[in-house]
Symmetry: C2
Subunit: 278 residues, 2 copies
Amino acid sequence: MAQASIGDSEFDRDTAVTLRAPGTYDAELSAGWTIIHAVNGGYLLAMLGRALGDALPHADPFTVSAHYLTASAPGPAVIRTELVRAGRTLSTGQASLFQYAEDGTEVERIRVLASYGDLDALTDDVRTTAKPPVIPPIEYCFGPEDGPAPIPGSSAITDRLRLKLDPATCGWAVGAPSGKGEMRGWFGLADGRDADPLSLLLAVDALPPTGFELGLKGWVPTVELTVHVRCRPAPGPLRVSITTRNLAGGFLEEDTEVWDTADRLVAQSRQLARAPRV
Amino acid sequence: MAQASIGDSEFDRDTAVTLRAPGTYDAELSAGWTIIHAVNGGYLLAMLGRALGDALPHADPFTVSAHYLTASAPGPAVIRTELVRAGRTLSTGQASLFQYAEDGTEVERIRVLASYGDLDALTDDVRTTAKPPVIPPIEYCFGPEDGPAPIPGSSAITDRLRLKLDPATCGWAVGAPSGKGEMRGWFGLADGRDADPLSLLLAVDALPPTGFELGLKGWVPTVELTVHVRCRPAPGPLRVSITTRNLAGGFLEEDTEVWDTADRLVAQSRQLARAPRV
């Protein structure tokens, strides 16, 4: 299989949006990005991000805040965008993704506020104290093909990804979770397409939940997820690290960092999610 | 002076909103919460948070995402809210704060998406690995009254706060910034009012910017700020810790934790801000 490229890949086709009217886009949620019957929240965010990149005067997501309202399902959807403010270096927009109830009425799934800019216009100045996560080389990491369902086998999304988890965060897959709120691994798209700002919106929410390593079973529905894209990622696989420090009152946060092959921190995200009942 | 109480304090009066029509509130931005001519972003967030707490079926902010559009000024404002979704345990709403141009047209200052719930309905289950920041006792920390302008003296907001900074993060005030992106201190309201979920929205954005300790001069305008309120705070002073790890491309993130006297992590926030030009 020839390596796919940015703009001509499974991810690009499955997040495509079609302009129906000014600011309004038709879309089709693919069943290929589902996990335990839910459509992956990062995939949905990438689709909303694509619509906003088309609707706003600036093309690149800088900060995107999404509140998840109701569960999405594979099938048709419509995305309605609004230009909130057009600035010189940043523009702010809003977008909502709707699906259709049986009687044809629109049901809102996700609402997003986002500020967009031009990543290529940023200065090269980097003064960071952040360090990339320490993850063993890819060949020592585990994917779904390597053992007893380290990633829930029923999920279609694993076929779209090259996900290789750090063995240190795979205990849950063999019934021995570490008890630490950590999940780390290498992330790429299965067809070899390199990362871009839109696929970073997927990458921050594509690993198994840290809750698995905390011994929690069941899904961890996102209430709100905010992503900062800090840099256009270099080609090659990404390193993704997720940390949960505060599981309390039935909610938890997931903090995600995404690093590229040039050792740049390309994205940071944090989500508030509901913990599954123990 | 008698100690003020929640509901009857300077903060409550200055963040008051008056229902004008369903979902629409009149407000007055007080000059008392300005810093270097700008109205403090946390103060504005608390006002928006108060309007949403009134407009939504649930009273407590759980996660609030704000995108800052244009600079606010002391004076009249109007807040327009929208109920996005009413759920059993969480409701989602949107709010915008507008002020008036010279010709009377409304100019949007901030737009917010937020999910609200009932903090008192949360379980007592806490499984956290987060540790409170290590800050010297209040009597060893520095406020504006303690020396050569550890907090910019021209700012009115310092009169509203009991802010005592860790000496380790005060180097900037004497021309010797540490070079680390850290700012820590004790936070309270000057009239002794205890913290509540609304004042936490202020607390996450009330310390001097970490940029000062990175040797950056000038203000650090917020692009986007998201706060998670995780617990109703216990009475007494709060400990606030802010960290910046990635100053790159002219932007930086500020990660804030707020801890109460019961050693509970009561709020977490992250903002994306523009770095001042060096």
